[in-house]
Symmetry: C2
Subunit: 104 residues, 2 copies
Amino acid sequence: MPDTTEISLDKMRASAGNASAMLRSLGNPDRLLLLCQLSQEELCVSDLEERLDIRQPSLSQQLGVLRREGLVSTRREGKHVYYQIADQRVLRLLQTLYELYCAE
Amino acid sequence: MPDTTEISLDKMRASAGNASAMLRSLGNPDRLLLLCQLSQEELCVSDLEERLDIRQPSLSQQLGVLRREGLVSTRREGKHVYYQIADQRVLRLLQTLYELYCAE
DNA sequence: CCGATAATATGTATTTCAATATAATGTTTC
DNA sequence: GAAACATTATATTGAAATACATATTATCGG
């Protein structure tokens, strides 16, 4: 009989690794705010800067983190770079978070 | 007319601060695994040690993080300290994470 | 087409925080 | 008091946050 405990522990570790990487990405107030904005509509960097009052280099750095993690994707239009959510799981998570932390 | 944009930005920041604190707590593979185990049943430290193969002091440190954040609570029974989930929001989040990262 | 300007991204330095390992200390039971 | 279980303290290392300067890319007026 195979040791199913060990097998599922490995799988659990793998899943936990994936999930916790995503959670770390959301676990920063600035990045979470960025994703909340982007969950409503596609926005360019200067839009985000104006709405959230975060300095541009710092904004760009956090957007870089989200890009490298594959959570957002970009589209250039003239001088502007538009960001959008690229991972549907982010939307699901944001929805749950909204219910838990913003509703009522 | 009040500036509703500013007001809701403040509220958003506050909510994002709360939510991202929770997300940071879950954003570590060991802590996420711990919470997954505890979401199924109450367990003591040596149970967790055996199931997850995490060394005991390191386990205790991560459990301490979860305690301080109010995500778990404890109950002593003789020599053993039993841990359980103390924040219902954790259960909701774990459920969503399970669907996104473990189902299928 | 060229230089100026606006928008965005990257590099660098500093500080702060999290992870890891190990040693030492408390607490409970027997 | 000894054994088992758990927490705390300490030291070290690495990663993330922050701030600021600089570079890249695109548009536009001449």
